[in-house]
Amino acid sequence: MPVVEISDVTKAFENVTAVDRLSLAVPEGSVYGFIGPNGSGKSTTMRMIVNIIHPDSGTFLVFGEERSGTRSNKIGYLPEERGVYRKMRVRSLLEFYGELRSGRNVTAEVNSWLERLGLASRADDKVETLSKGMSQKIQFIATVIPEPRLLILDEPFTGLDPVSADSIRGAILEMRSRGCTIILSTHEMAVAESLCDSIFMIFRGRKVLDGTLDSIQSRYGSDTIRVEVEGRSNALGHLPGIERINDLGQVQELRMAPGCDSQQVLETLVARTRVISFSVVKPSLHDIFVRIAGPQPEEAASASNAE
C-alpha cells in the first residue's frame, strides 16, 4: 500500500494554479524525490501532504487515511522556509521538539543524533550561536526525533557543505533501511540520481515525470553522446545531426536529433580533432530536467526577438 496517495489534486492561489490535477503514489520504504524548477508546485504539494494547506479538489491519503489536522507522530516535516527557537540551547530545543511529538523523554535519542552529526560539543550552546549549516543539521534532527514513519524534507541539502550533506544523506539512507518512507525535494540532480528510488518531476503544477531513474531515462532512449575531445566545445560546432550541446567542462554531452547516426558523428569528429573518449548513453537527469523546464524553442525565439 502506498504511504502517500494523491488523486487528481488541484490547488490554486488567487489566479495562479500551483498544482493541477496531480496524482501520484509514494511506495512504502522508498526515497521519493521531488524535482522541478522554482515555483513549480513542489512545496505546495508537500504542504498539502502535511495538511498545512488544503487542496481545492482531489484527495490525499496518508497511511491509507484522509488527514484532518496537521499533527501526527508518524510524520516528520522539514519545511523549506524553516526556523527554530534561536534563543534556546541545542539540547533543550531538540528535547522540546521530540517530546512534543512523542510525548515521552527523548534525551537518549537527542544525544545519539548530536553525536552522529558531530554536534555533541555544541549541545549546550544557544542555537543563535551556530553556523547556518549547523542550524540546518539541528533542524533535521528536530524533524527526525523520534523517528517518524514518513519523513518529508523540503530542500534538506540547500546551503550544506559536502561533509554535512553527506552526513544528512547517510542519515536518510539509514532511516530508509529501517522502513521509513522519505519524500524529499531537491534542485541538485546528482542528489536525486544517487539518493532517490523514485523521481517525480512537477512543472507548472503538472506531473511531467514519475518513476525510477532507469524508467525515466529509458523513456528518452539513448540519444546522448558523451565525448571528450581535444579543443573541447570549440571543436564541436555545427556537427550534423546534433540538436544541442551541453558543455560540462571536461566532458560534453551531445543530443542527437531523431534519425541521427552516432557512427557518422564519430567519423566527423575524428576528421576534425583527436577524440579521447566517445560513448552513447541515456540522458542524465540534469539533461532531462533542462529539456522539460528549459526555455522551449518558441519561448527562446520570442526572447531573442524581444532583444
Partner: protein, 436 residues
C-alpha cells in the same frame, strides 16, 4: 489538558521569565511606581529651609491674629497629611510694616520673592476688617512666584487669613479671648465608612476611612492594569517574531494551532501570576515590616488573581492572534498600538469611578467585559464597596467574552501563522475568523 499544551506553555514560560526584559521589568515597575513618592519624600526631607511669608498689614492691628491663624493652619496641614505623602514646607510668617510709598514697597517685596528671599506676600488692605461692600477690589492680595496650578498654600491660606481677620473683629466687639477662641474653634470633620449589617445581622462598620488603605487598594488595581496589559501585549511581538523566523511550520506536525495558542496563553498567565505574586508578597511583607498589615485589602486579593487570570487569557489570546497576522516588524508595532490603546480606557475612568463607585457611569462601565477587571476591582476597593452579586456577574461577562475572543483568536491564529509576506487588512482577519 493535553500534555503538548503544557510543554509549549512550559517552554514559553521559562523563556519569558528568564528573559532580561522580564527581570528588568520586575525591578523597574515598583521603581517607577514608587519614584513619585520617593521624590516627594526626598524633597520633604531636603526641604529643611523655612519658607518666609511676609504679611503686609494695612489695618495696623490684624497682623498678629492673621499670623497666628496661618501658623495654626500650617501645623494642621502637616498633622493631617499622611506621613507617606507628607510634603509640607515649613512656613514662617513675618509682619512687614507698610511704607509711605506703597507701590515701591510692593515692587521691593516682589523682587525679594523673585530672588527667593521670601516665598510669598500676603497684603491686607487697610479696610479689610470692615469692607465697604465694593467687591471689585480685593481686601487681601496674595503674591507668589508659583505658577498657580500647584500651590499648596492656596488650599488653606485664604481660610486662615479670614480666620485671623474674624478673630480681630470679634475682639473689637468686646468679646474676651476665651469666648473668641470658643467661637473660632475648628471642629474636626472625619471621613467615615458607611454603616452596614454584618452576615450575622448586627449593625457594623462606620470606621474612620483610611486614606492609606485606599492607597493600598489602588496599588492593587494599578498592578492589575500594568501586569495584565504589558504581560499580555508582549505576546504579540513574540508571536510575530516566531512567525517571521518561520518557527511555526516546523511545529505543526507536532502540535495543532490551537495547542500552540493555548500553550502561549497559559505561559502568559503563568508569567503574570509569577510577577504579581512576587509584588503582592513583597507589598505584604513591607506592610508587615511597618506594622501596617491591617491596611492590606486581603479580601480583594482573591478577586485580584481571578481578574488577572481572566484579563490575561483575554488579552493574550488577542495578542497572539494579532501577532500571527503580522508580516513584518512594522505590522507588529502598529497592531501593538491597536491592542493596547483600548486598554487605557479604564485608566481614563479611574477618577470618576473612584469619586462615585456606585454611580451610573461606574456601574455601566464596570460591566463592559474588557474594562471589568480593572473597574470592578476599583469599585470593590472603594469604601462603599459593591453588592456581592456584581463581581460575579462581571466575571461571568468576562469569561463569556473571553471564550468568544479566544475562539475568534484561535481561528485567526491557525491561518495567520502560515500566511507569509502578506500585508494585513482588517477584512482578512474577519475572513479568517469566518473561514472553515
Amino acid at each position: 489538558m493535553p500534555n503538548r499544551i503544557l510543554l509549549i506553555a512550559r517552554r514559553d514560560y521559562l523563556q519569558t521569565v528568564q528573559s532580561k526584559a522580564f527581570l528588568l521589568g520586575l525591578v523597574l515597575l515598583p521603581l517607577l511606581f514608587g519614584s513619585g513618592f520617593f521624590a516627594l519624600a526626598l524633597a520633604n526631607k531636603m526641604d529643611t529651609k523655612a519658607q518666609r511669608i511676609a504679611v503686609l498689614d494695612g489695618t495696623g492691628i490684624a497682623a498678629a491674629a492673621v499670623i497666628q491663624a496661618c501658623q495654626e493652619a500650617t501645623q494642621k496641614a502637616i498633622r493631617e497629611t499622611p506621613a507617606a505623602l507628607a510634603f509640607a514646607p515649613h512656613y514662617v510668617f513675618e509682619e512687614v510694616k507698610p511704607e509711605a510709598d506703597q507701590a515701591a514697597q510692593l515692587l521691593s517685596l516682589s523682587d525679594q520673592i523673585r530672588r527667593g528671599e521670601i516665598f510669598a506676600l500676603v497684603d491686607i488692605a487697610p479696610g479689610a476688617l470692615h469692607p465697604s461692600g465694593d467687591t471689585s477690589q480685593p481686601d487681601v492680595r496674595y503674591y507668589a512666584n508659583s505658577s498657580g496650578l500647584v500651590d499648596p498654600l492656596s488650599l488653606w491660606l485664604p481660610a486662615a487669613v479670614n480666620d485671623g481677620l474674624r478673630h480681630v473683629r470679634l475682639v473689637q466687639l468686646g468679646l474676651d479671648q476665651e469666648r473668641v477662641a470658643d467661637v473660632m474653634r475648628d471642629d474636626r470633620v472625619v471621613s467615615m465608612n458607611l454603616v452596614g449589617k454584618s452576615p450575622s445581622g448586627a449593625i457594623a462598620g462606620g470606621e474612620k476611612r483610611s486614606l492609606q488603605s485606599g492607597f493600598v487598594a489602588f496599588f492593587l488595581v494599578f498592578l492589575l492594569f500594568v501586569i495584565g496589559t504589558f504581560g499580555s501585549a508582549s505576546n504579540l511581538s513574540a508571536v510575530a517574531q516566531d512567525k517571521m523566523q518561520r518557527v511555526f511550520e516546523m511545529l505543526l506536525t507536532s502540535a495543532s494551532p490551537f495547542e500552540l495558542m493555548a500553550g502561549k496563553v497559559l505561559a502568559a498567565v503563568g508569567a503574570c501570576l509569577t510577577s504579581s505574586t512576587l509584588y503582592i508578597l513583597a507589598g505584604l511583607a513591607a506592610l508587615a515590616g511597618m506594622a501596617m498589615i491591617g491596611l492590606a485589602p486581603l479580601h480583594l486579593i482573591p478577586w485580584f488573581f481571578v481578574y488577572l487570570i481572566a484579563d490575561v487569557v483575554l488579552l493574550s489570546a488577542l495578542a497572539v492572534a494579532l501577532g500571527s497576522a503580522c508580516a513584518n516588524p512594522q505590522d507588529a508595532q502598529q497592531l501593538a498600538f491597536v491592542l493596547i490603546l483600548p486598554l487605557y480606557v479604564p485608566m481614563f475612568l479611574l477618577t470618576p469611578v473612584m469619586q462615585h463607585p456606585n454611580g451610573p457611569l461606574a456601574l455601566v462601565t464596570s460591566f463592559i467585559p474588557p474594562f471589568t477587571p480593572v473597574l470592578m476591582l476599583l469599585r470593590q476597593a472603594s469604601a462603599a464597596g459593591v453588592p456581592a452579586w456584581q463581581p460575579w456577574l462581571g466575571l461571568l461577562g468576562v469569561v463569556a467574552y473571553g471564550l468568544a475572543v479566544a475562539w475568534a483568536a484561535a481561528r485567526v491564529f491557525r491561518i495567520g501563522i502560515l500566511s507569509q509576506g502578506k500585508t494585513l487588512k482588517l477584512t482578512d482577519l474577519a475572513q479568517w475568523v469566518l473561514r472553515d
